[in-house]
């Protein structure tokens, strides 16, 4: 009780004394949270869109002739040699015919004159639903088309590949901005705390002499770091949310953007971002404090 009273009074003093640099730190932290969260949000939404697109993505390899059991095994091995896949299915000429006939439904009579093996046999390859696999669909299809006995390879929308490539690029940006967030919050906070310590060196030395425990000296600075993290990340998230709302309203009319549903972070994600920022800022403050206490 008295401990917290003493600690909070100290926090108040620190803030009153060094508020300009505290404020700068606060802004920097919120800006870096904003940048990181922005890219992360875009990335998240791209992933969602991608999932929808990727759901029915498959490569169809048309074969020159019906493969025997042994040949099927050889092809399967060859395909897996390129990459793991989710599923490989061999479609015989007969199956292809049946399928086509079923698709025609009532009109299947038109096939009556056709030989039952007029459609080529094929392999349906469903790639793994992850970014790495999806972003190299083109490469995969080139690879498949070079397999012996392949007529041609077909896969739906070839822009999908570019989409996934972009998403992968975005994931790198998310990582970079995450790194930026870590650097700025840890270093800015530890820098401002160091400024505070320098400004109050005499007092902190005296506190040691009159028997203040390390916790007594350290806790106010830790709280300062935690507050920086809490307020900084809250402001960052709020700004992002406003930006998000603004974009949503601005582009809510018919257009590409309205094809997909954009969503903001889940509460858990927001919570995680807040907690991580707080932890980072606390680490920054703790590290400068330790340097001082070891003297």
């Amino acid at each position: 009780m008295n401990f917290w009273f003493a600690v909070l009074r100290q926090v108040g003093r620190n803030i009153r004394q060094t508020w300009p640099s505290q404020f700068m730190t606060f802004l920097t932290v919120s800006l870096s949270v904003l940048i990181f969260a922005f890219f992360y949000l875009v990335y998240n939404n791209m992933l969602n869109v991608g999932n929808k697109l990727g759901d029915d993505l498959q490569l169809i390899v048309y074969l020159e002739e019906e493969p025997g059991i042994e040949m099927q095994e050889q092809l399967r091995r060859k395909i897996l040699a390129f990459d793991e896949v989710e599923n490989i299915r061999f479609i015989s000429k007969l199956e292809a015919y049946e399928r086509f006939a079923n698709q025609l439904g009532e009109n299947r009579d038109v096939l009556n004159d056709m030989p039952r093996d007029f459609l080529p046999a094929s392999i349906e390859v469903v790639p793994m639903k992850d970014l790495r696999s999806l972003s190299q669909v083109k490469l995969f299809s080139d690879y498949l088309s070079k397999l012996p006995g392949t007529l041609k390879v077909q896969y739906g929308q070839d822009w999908i590949e570019r989409f996934y490539y972009f998403t992968r690029l975005l994931s790198i940006i998310v990582l970079l901005s995450g790194g930026l967030l870590i650097l700025t919050s840890v270093f800015m906070v530890s820098y401002t705390i160091r400024l505070t310590i320098l400004g109050r060196q005499a007092e902190l030395e005296l506190l040691k002499l009159v028997g203040a425990t390390n916790n007594y000296i350290r806790t106010p600075f830790l709280i300062e770091g935690i507050l920086q993290g809490l307020f900084g990340s809250t402001l960052g998230i709020i700004s992002l949310f406003s930006l998000f709302q603004w974009i949503k309203i601005k582009f809510s009319g018919p257009g590409i953007l309205s094809l997909f549903e954009f969503s903001f972070f889940q509460p858990q994600t927001i919570f995680t971002i807040l907690v991580i920022s707080i932890v980072l800022c606390a680490v920054g403050s703790y590290s400068s404090m330790q340097k001082f206490l070891r003297m």
Binding site: A6, L206, K208
Partner: protein, 233 residues
């Protein structure tokens, strides 16, 4: 600072030396025991090593040689929380005061109580009482840097005794004071001593130890000599 092996001794110094680089011998082979609740005068010319001795006792500095025990514990072995706890029990009025000049007088006095988490009401009352005893009541909310040296000296003393420490070290407590104020200061120290604190006073103010019944020792060239045995106990 309870310890069963201490036999009523607060301070135990055995063959303590302190040298400052390169070759200043501030203290040489100083040995002395000071009892619980003893009042002890340490005199000596300027530069004799009085301040150095007090700094060793409050573990601001460490001896180059020898053993120092406070309340039965080797102070060189204390670190972290133990050291902090011990320092809370030692009140020191430094020769250079070490006051926070941008804070009020009351805040300066309170600091030694704050670090041991005394209740705010208790702190306020104690601060008021002490300032009254030292004739500083009207300076309660004054900025410490604006006080005269004599006033600052008393603030430093108030801070030293505020937390009711078991060991009080005062360095030159009356250097800037007139006779009346000196008497007030000595009264306060005597009162602390009577309620059980060990008090060590380093001074070259002859007037405050001339008539004292307590032990007086003198530092000369870093060596400790007995001037007069105490007759009080």
């Amino acid at each position: 600072m309870k310890d069963d092996n201490r036999n009523g001794t607060m301070i135990e110094m055995i063959k303590v030396s302190k040298t400052y680089p390169p070759d200043v011998y501030a203290l040489r082979d100083v040995s002395v025991s000071i009892a619980d609740a003893e009042m002890f005068f340490l005199t000596g010319m300027s530069g004799a090593g009085k301040t150095t001795l007090l700094k060793l006792l409050c573990s601001m500095e460490y001896p180059s040689n020898g053993l120092i025990e406070i309340g039965g514990r080797d102070i060189q072995k204390m670190r972290g929380k133990k050291l902090a706890k011990m320092r809370q029990k030692i009140g020191v009025a430094y020769q250079d005061f070490k006051l926070l000049l941008d804070r009020t007088v009351a805040e300066n006095v309170a600091i030694s109580m704050e670090v041991s988490y005394k209740k705010p009401q208790l702190i306020n009352k104690r601060v008021k009482d002490l300032l009254e005893i030292l004739a500083l009541t009207d300076k309660h909310n004054a900025i410490t840097g604006e006080l005269s040296r004599g006033e600052q000296q008393r603030v430093a003393l108030a801070r030293a005794v505020a937390n009711s420490p078991t060991l009080i070290l005062v360095d030159e407590p009356t250097g800037n004071l007139d006779a009346t104020t000196t008497a007030r200061v000595m009264q306060l120290l005597t009162k602390c001593n009577n309620s059980g604190a060990t008090v060590v006073i380093a001074t070259h103010d002859h007037s405050i130890y001339r008539d004292t019944p307590h032990r007086i020792m003198e530092l000369r060239n870093g060596k400790l000599h007995l001037v007069r045995e105490g007759s009080a106990q």
